[in-house]
C-alpha cells in the first residue's frame, strides 16, 4: 500500500490578478522506502504540491482533492491535528538551510524542540538522541555543534542539521525541496549520499523535488515530470531517461549540459593576445577586533591570479562559492580596483590608468550579470537599458539611429520588437537575461565576462542563453570569460578552463584536458561530484571525497590544504606554485592524492585554528 497518496490534488492561489491555479488535478503515490523524484522548472508547482500536503500553504492558497497518509486523509486538516503528523510521520527539508533554522536558537535547542513535542523527550535523553542523529548525518565534531548557532555553521553543515532535525522522529516520509540547490557541488554530493543512505538504512521514503536531472538520475527510483501544474510524464528512472515519451521531457534532457559529452573542437583562435592578467590580488581588510582602531586582517578574495586570453577564445572559470570568481571578474573590469598586480588590455595597463582614460576601454570590456532582474534598472524600459552604453560611447548618434540600433540588437538576441517599451518586472528571467546580453553586446565589445550569467535560470532557458552567447561569439568574434559554479555548463562553452580555489588558480588547461586528465586533487573531487543526467552512469560512478571542511579564506594556511607536507614541515606561509606539467596544462603544487585522502590530523588542526 502506498505511504502517501494524492488523488485529484489541486492548489490555487487568490492573487490581485485573479485566481492562479498552481497545481491541476494531479495523482501520485509514494511507496514506503522508495525515492520519488519530482522534476520541473520554476513555477511548475512542484513545491506547492507538497506544501499543500503538509498544510503549509500561505493564507491565500486553497487545496482541494485528497491526500492520504497511510490511508488517513490529511489534506486541509485543522492545524492542531496536522501538527501531530508534521514532523513525526512526515518531515520536510528546504532549499535554504539558513532561513529554515531559527537564528537565535542553538542547534541543540532547535533539535530538542520537536523531540519534546512528538516524543515527550527532554533533558539529557533528548540531547543524547540529538547527538546520535548528528553523528548519523556525519556531522564533524557533533558534540560541539549542539552548542553553536546556525550562523556559525557552513551551508553544508546547516543542511545536515536540517536533515538530522527532520529525521529525529523517524518519519516515514522525508520531503526534500531542492535540498542541494544552494550548495556547492562537492557539498551537494555529500548531502545526496547522506539522503540515499538514510533511505536505505532507515527505510524512509523520500520525495525529492528538484530541477536538476543529474540529481534525479543519481537518487530516484521513479520520476514525475511536472510542467504548468500538471504531470506530463511519470515512470521509472530508466524509462524517463532512456525512453522519454513526452516532448517536454525530451527537451529537458537535451537541454541539460553534460559533463561527459565530447566537445568538438571549435573554430581556431586568433593568435592575438587580448588581455593579460598578471598576479592580480584583491584583498579586503576585515576588522577582526572591535574598538576605535580595530585590527584589520586581509581577506584574500583573489590572491595572485594570472592568465591571458586570445581573441575569440572562451576561458571558463570554475570554483565553489567564496573562491573569488566574481571578485576576479570585477577586478579585471576595474569595478573593484585590484590591490596589486596588472591587468593589461592590448598592452595598456588598466589598473594603473586614470578613470578618464579607462572609460574609452570600457567599450571593449563588458559584463553580463548573474541576476537578470537585479542587473536592470527597474525604472527604465528595457530599450533605455540597452541604449545606455550607446549614450556614453556614441554621443554622435541621433535618437532615431540609436533606437534603430537597439531594435536591431533586440532582434538579434531574440526579443520581440513589441517589447521595446516594457519594464524588466514584466519580463521573464530568460527575457531579462537577453536584455542583459543585448546591453553588453550593443557596442560590439571584444571581451564579455559572463558572471554566472545562466546560473539563476531554468535548464531550458539556460540552454537557450548559452546557445545565444555561442552564436554571438561566432558572429562577432569576441572573447569570453565564462564564470560559473556549474562545471557542466562551463565545459559546454569553454576552450580553456581555470579552476579557482580560495582565490588561487589550482589548475588551468584545455577544456578536454581538465575533464579527462585532471591532475589536481581539488579538480578531481569537483568533477567527480558533478551529477550526470544518466542513471546508469551516475549510479556506477565512484566519488572522490576530500576529508575536512573548506577552510576559511581568512586563514593564511588555507592555501596549503593540498600540500600538508609543507604544513608538517612548518612552512606555514609557503605558497603553492603553478607548474606546467604538459604544454598548456598548468597545475598547482600538491601532495599525492593518497596522502591527502588519508587525512592528516596535524594539518587539519592547522587549517581549522
Amino acid at each position: 500500500m502506498a505511504l502517501l497518496e494524492a488523488k485529484n490534488l489541486s492548489v490555487s492561489f487568490d492573487t490581485s490578478d485573479g485566481i492562479v491555479k498552481a497545481v491541476k488535478n494531479i495523482d501520485f503515490a509514494i511507496a514506503p522506502g522508495e525515492c520519488l523524484g519530482i522534476v520541473g522548472e520554476s513555477g511548475s508547482g512542484k513545491s506547492q504540491t507538497f506544501l499543500a500536503a503538509m498544510g503549509l500553504l500561505p493564507k491565500n492558497g486553497h487545496a482541494s482533492g485528497s491526500v492520504t497518509l497511510n490511508g488517513t486523509e490529511i489534506l486541509n486538516l485543522p492545524i492542531n491535528k496536522l501538527n501531530s503528523i508534521r514532523g513525526s510521520s512526515m518531515a520536510m527539508i528546504f532549499q535554504d538551510p539558513l532561513t529554515a533554522l531559527t537564528p537565535h536558537l542553538k542547534v541543540g535547542e532547535q533539535m530538542q524542540e520537536s523531540l519534546g513535542i512528538h516524543q515527550g523527550l527532554s533533558g539529557r535523553k533528548a540531547r543524547k538522541h540529538c547527538l546520535d542523529w548528528l553523528d548519523k548525518v556525519r556531522m564533524p565534531e557533533a558534540e560541539r555543534r549542539l552548542e553553536q548557532y546556525p550562523h556559525e555553521l557552513s551551508g553544508g553543515m546547516r543542511q545536515r542539521v536540517m536533515i538530522a532535525m527532520a529525521m529525529l522522529n523517524n518519519p516515514k516520509l522525508l520531503i526534500a525541496d531542492e535540498p542541494t540547490t544552494a550548495l556547492d557541488v562537492t557539498v551537494q554530493a555529500e548531502i545526496l549520499d547522506l539522503i540515499a543512505d538514510l533511505q536505505k538504512n532507515e527505510g524512509t521514503a523520500v520525495a525529492l523535488i528538484t530541477h536538476d536531472m543529474g540529481v534525479v538520475a543519481r537518487m530516484c527510483d521513479r520520476i514525475e515530470v511536472m510542467r504548468y501544474g500538471a504531470y506530463v510524464e511519470s515512470g521509472s528512472a530508466d524509462d524517463i531517461f532512456y525512453a522519454p515519451k513526452h516532448e517536454y521531457t525530451q527537451r529537458l534532457l537535451s537541454a541539460m549540459p553534460r559533463l561527459d559529452t565530447v566537445q568538438e573542437d571549435r573554430v581556431k583562435i586568433d593568435a592575438e593576445k587580448l588581455l593579460t592578467v598578471n598576479d592580480v590580488k584583491v584583498h579586503f581588510p576585515i576588522a577582526m577586533s572591535k574598538g576605535l582602531f580595530p585590527k584589520k586582517v586581509p581577506l584574500k578574495a583573489v590572491d595572485g591570479v594570472s592568465f591571458d586570453i586570445m581573441a575569440g577564445e572562451t576561458l571558463g572559470v570554475v570554483g565553489e562559492s567564496g573562491c573569488g570568481k566574481s571578485t576576479l571578474a570585477r577586478a579585471v573590469l576595474q569595478l573593484i580596483p585590484p590591490s596589486s598586480g596588472a591587468v593589461s588590455w592590448l598592452g595598456h595597463d588598466l589598473a594603473s590608468m586614470p578613470k578618464s582614460e579607462l572609460k574609452q576601454y570600457r567599450k571593449d570590456l563588458q559584463i553580463v550579470f548573474q541576476d537578470p532582474l537585479a542587473s536592470l534598472d527597474p525604472r527604465m524600459t528595457i530599450a533605455d537599458s540597452i541604449a545606455e552604453p550607446l549614450k556614453t560611447f556614441r554621443p554622435d548618434m541621433t535618437v532615431r539611429e540609436r533606437k534603430r540600433k537597439v531594435e536591431e540588437m533586440m532582434e538579434r538576441v531574440g526579443l520581440e520588437q513589441s517589447m521595446i517599451n516594457r519594464y524588466p518586472h514584466e519580463l521573464s528571467g530568460g527575457q531579462n537575461q537577453r536584455v542583459g546580453v543585448a546591453r553588453a553586446m550593443i557596442n560590439k565589445p571584444r571581451l564579455i565576462i559572463c558572471d554566472e550569467a545562466v546560473s539563476a535560470l531554468d535548464v531550458s532557458i539556460q540552454a537557450q542563453i548559452v546557445a545565444l552567447l555561442k552564436e554571438l561569439q561566432d558572429e562577432f568574434g569576441m572573447s569570453m570569460i565564462f564564470i560559473s559554479h556549474d562545471l557542466s555548463v562551463v565545459r559546454d562553452v569553454s576552450d580553456r578552463i581555470m579552476v579557482l580555489y580560495l582565490g588561487r588558480v589550482v589548475e588551468l588547461a584545455h577544456a578536454d584536458a581538465i575533464y579527462k586528465d585532471a591532475r589536481h586533487p581539488y579538480t578531481k573531487s569537483l568533477i567527480s561530484a558533478v551529477p550526470i543526467p544518466d542513471p546508469k552512469i551516475e549510479k556506477s560512478r565512484s566519488r572522490l571525497k576530500i576529508p575536512g571542511e573548506l577552510p576559511s579564506p581568512l586563514n593564511p594556511r588555507a592555501a596549503l590544504r593540498f600540500l600538508p607536507s609543507k604544513l608538517r614541515a612548518g612552512e606555514m606561509t609557503y605558497i603553492p606554485k603553478l607548474q606546467e606539467t604538459t604544454p598548456g596544462h598548468w597545475v598547482a603544487e600538491h601532495d599525492p592524492l593518497d596522502v591527502i585522502l588519508a587525512g592528516d590530523p596535524l594539518a587539519d588542526q592547522a587549517l581549522v585554528s
Binding site: R362, Q366, S375, D377, R379, T392
Partner: protein
C-alpha cells in the same frame, strides 16, 4: 506612381512604434494599486475638496476676514451663532470677525505650511542623503555625523529659537520647519542609497562607462522616488502639526494672518463661554486634513512597496 515616399515610410514607422505595447512602469502599477485602495482614495477626494474649498470658498463669503461685525460683537454667544441668513456661515469669533472667512484663510495657510515645509525637507534631505550615501567613505561619515548632531537638538526648541531670534514671519517659519524636518529624510534617503548603490544595475552602468554623476541622477534618484514620495506625504501632516503646536504656544503665524492651530487655540480659550463653533469648525478641518493625509501616505506606501504590506 507609388514610388518610395520617405516621409510616408517614416510616418508609418512612427505609427508602428506607437502601436508597440506600452510597458507598465512601476509607477503606473503603483497608481493602479493606489486607486484600488478605498480609504486612500476617499481621503484623496476629501483633500481635493478641502483644497477646492480654499480656492472657491472666498467667492461665497459675505464678510471678509478682517471686517468686524460691530452690530453683533457685543453679544457673540447669542448673536454670533452660525447663521446662513446674515452671511456668518461659521459664526463669529471673539472679536466679531467672520469665522467662515477666517477658517478659509487658516486652512490655506496651514496647507501651505505643510506643503512647503515637506517640499523643503524633500529637496534638501534627498540631495543631502543621496550625496552622502553615494559618495560614501569619509564624506558619508562627516555628513551623517552633522545630521546626528543636529538631530540631538530638540526640533521644537530650534523652531522656537529661530522664531524668537529672527522675528516672526512667514519666511522664517518655513525656514525653521524645513531646518528640522530634512534630517530624518536625509537619513532615510541615505540608507536607501546605500542599498541601491551595491545593486548590480549600478555596476552594470559603471561597466557601461556611465559617469558617477549621471549614475546618481539617472539610476539612483529615480529609484528613490517611492520612498521619498511616501515619506514626504507623511511629512505634510507632521508639518501642520508642528506649526499648530508653535501657533498654539503663541509663536508662529501672527495677526492679521492666522492658521488652524491659532484658531483652535483661540476656540479652546473661549470654549467655556458657550461659543463651541469657534473651536468646532477649525478643528473639523484640521482633523480632516491630518487624517486624510495620513491615509494618503499609507496608501502610497502600500502602492509603492507592495512587498512590505
Amino acid at each position: 506612381m507609388f514610388g518610395k515616399n520617405v516621409k510616408h515610410q517614416d510616418l508609418a514607422n512612427e505609427v508602428n512604434a506607437e502601436l508597440n505595447v506600452k510597458g507598465r512602469s512601476l509607477l503606473r502599477d503603483a497608481r493602479d494599486r493606489f486607486v484600488r485602495n478605498k480609504a486612500a482614495m476617499a481621503s484623496l477626494f476629501i483633500m481635493i475638496f478641502i483644497a477646492l474649498f480654499t480656492i472657491v470658498g472666498p467667492y461665497f463669503a459675505v464678510w471678509s476676514n478682517e471686517e468686524i461685525d460691530w452690530n453683533r460683537m457685543g453679544d457673540i454667544a447669542r448673536q454670533g451663532v452660525p447663521n446662513l441668513e446674515n452671511g456668518h456661515f461659521f459664526g463669529l469669533d471673539e472679536l466679531g470677525r467672520d469665522m467662515y472667512a477666517r477658517v478659509i484663510q487658516a486652512t490655506t495657510i496651514s496647507l501651505l505650511v505643510g506643503l512647503i515645509g515637506a517640499f523643503m525637507a524633500l529637496v534638501v534631505g534627498t540631495l543631502y542623503g543621496t550625496i552622502s550615501g553615494f559618495v560614501g567613505g569619509r564624506v558619508d561619515s562627516i555628513m551623517m555625523r552633522i545630521v546626528d548632531i543636529l538631530m540631538a537638538i530638540p526640533g521644537t526648541l530650534v523652531i522656537i529659537l529661530l522664531l524668537v531670534v529672527a522675528g516672526r514671519s512667514f519666511v522664517m517659519l518655513f525656514i525653521a520647519l524645513g531646518a528640522v524636518s530634512w534630517l530624518t529624510m536625509a537619513r532615510i534617503v541615505r540608507g536607501q542609497t546605500l542599498a541601491l548603490k551595491n545593486r548590480e544595475f549600478i555596476e552594470a552602468a559603471r561597466a557601461a562607462g556611465v559617469s558617477e554623476t549621471v549614475i546618481m541622477f539617472r539610476h539612483i534618484l529615480p529609484n528613490l522616488m517611492g520612498v521619498v514620495i511616501v515619506y514626504a506625504s507623511l511629512l505634510v501632516p507632521d508639518m501642520i502639526l508642528a506649526e499648530s503646536f508653535i501657533s498654539f504656544l503663541g509663536l508662529g503665524i501672527s495677526e492679521p494672518y492666522t492658521s488652524l492651530g491659532r484658531l483652535i487655540a483661540e476656540g479652546a480659550g473661549t470654549m467655556a463661554y458657550g461659543t463651541l463653533w469657534q473651536l468646532a469648525f477649525p478643528l473639523t478641518f484640521y482633523v480632516a486634513i491630518i487624517i486624510s493625509m495620513f491615509f494618503i501616505g499609507d496608501g502610497l506606501r502600500d502602492a509603492l512597496d507592495p512587498k512590505d504590506r
